[in-house]
Symmetry: C2
Subunit: 207 residues, 2 copies
C-alpha cells in the first residue's frame, strides 16, 4: 500500500474540541503524523512560541511567501494573514508522514482545489445544544463571544457538505480512533496507489 | 451518524480470495452485513441451491425483471444472464444493513453510475506472482484455465483505477479487518449524513 503521506485537513465549529482531538491523535500516534504549523502576521500571544503555535512573520515576509507561491493556502482574518507553508507539508508527506492541517473552511476548500486528493474532515459535537453547552461550559467567554461563535457556526455549517467526512466528537477516545482510521483508510484509495496498480499491470503482462 | 445501510461492491481477480474474504466478513459481523444474491439463467451446478448461491431463473423470468427495471445491474456472460435484484438490496439498506455485492467489473461500474455513493472495493493479492501461485496452488485447474484466468486478470487490471479502494489480500484476518473498516468509515461520509447536517443547521439557527 501507499507509503507516501496523506494530506488531511481538519476544520470544525469552535467548541467542537478540535484542539484536544489533535493533541490526543498526535500523542497516540506520534510517529505517523505531522501537524502543519501555520504562518501568520498576527502578534504572538503570551505563552505562544515561534515555530510551535505559529511561525510569526512580518507582513513583508508573508507577502514574499505569497509571491513565491510558497503557501498551500492563505487567507486574511481581522487584518492578519494566515497561511500554510508548502515545503514542510510536502517534505513530511514524502517522508511517509500523514500531515494534518487544522485550518478554517476557506483555506480547507482552497487546499482541496489545489490537491483534490486531500481528505477534508469536519469535526462537530453531536448536536447544536451540545455545542452551546460546551461553549458556555468553558466559563471563560463573555456572552458576546459565545453569541459570536454560535453565529459563526451557522455560517460554517453551510460548508459541511463540501467536506469528505464528518467526525462527531462525542466521546474523545472514539473520535480519535475514528479520525485515525479515516486517515489510514485513505492509504488504500486507488488514487493513492497508482504505482502499485502500474506495477501489478506490468507484472501481469509479463507472466 | 448515518443509520442507513451502505452499498459496497467487491470485485477482484479470480484467485484473489474474494470468496474466503466475504465468508469471513459475514461470519464475523453477521448482524451488520447482508450479501446480495444474484439472479442468473445458468443451470445450477451440483451442490448449488436456489436462493443460496443464486436465484436460478428461466430466461423469460429474467427478461421480465429487466423489463420491470427490477435489477440494479445485469450482464450476459457466455450466453447466460447474471443480475442483482434491486428490491432485496434496497430493503436491507433501509433496515440499516450494509449490503455487499460480489460482482464483475462491468456490473460494478454500472452500479456506481446508478448509485454514485456506492463503495467500490477491488481485491488483489500483493503481487502478480502471488496471484499465479495461488491459481496454481489450488491444484484443481488445468493449465488452460489458469492461463485464461491470468489473461482475464490483465484485462481486469485496466479497470482498477475506477474503484475507490484497493484491498490487498495478503493476510486474511488483516484484509477482513480492513474491509470492515472501509465500509464502516463510509457511514461517516458527509454524503451519507445529509439528515444530520440538515438538523444541525436547523438547530443552530434556532439557538
Amino acid at each position: 500500500m501507499s507509503q507516501k503521506g496523506i494530506l488531511a485537513v481538519v476544520s470544525g465549529f469552535s467548541g467542537a474540541g478540535k484542539g484536544t482531538l489533535m493533541k490526543a491523535l498526535l500523542e497516540r500516534y506520534a510517529q505517523q503524523y505531522a501537524l502543519s504549523i501555520s504562518a501568520t502576521t498576527r502578534k504572538p500571544r503570551v505563552g505562544e512560541e515561534h515555530g510551535r503555535e505559529y511561525f510569526f512573520l512580518e507582513k513583508d515576509a508573508f507577502e514574499q511567501l505569497i509571491a513565491e507561491d510558497a503557501l498551500i493556502e492563505h487567507a486574511c482574518y481581522v487584518g492578519n494573514y494566515y497561511g500554510t507553508p508548502k515545503s514542510y507539508v510536502l517534505e513530511q508527506m514524502e517522508a511517509g508522514r500523514d500531515v494534518i492541517l487544522e485550518i478554517e473552511i476557506q483555506g480547507a476548500l482552497e487546499v482541496k482545489k489545489k490537491f483534490p486528493e486531500t481528505l477534508l474532515l469536519f469535526v462537530t459535537p453531536p448536536s447544536a445544544k451540545e455545542l452551546e453547552s460546551r461553549l458556555r461550559g468553558r466559563g471563560t467567554e463573555t456572552e458576546a463571544v459565545i453569541r459570536d461563535r454560535l453565529s459563526r457556526a451557522v455560517e460554517e455549517a453551510e460548508f459541511m457538505e463540501q467536506y469528505d467526512y464528518i467526525l462527531v466528537n462525542d466521546d474523545l477516545d472514539t473520535c480519535v480512533q475514528d479520525m485515525h482510521r479515516l486517515i489510514q483508510a485513505q492509504h488504500q484509495r486507488c488514487s493513492e496507489n497508482r504505482d502499485f496498480i502500474r506495477q501489478m499491470k506490468q507484472e501481469l503482462n509479463e507472466l
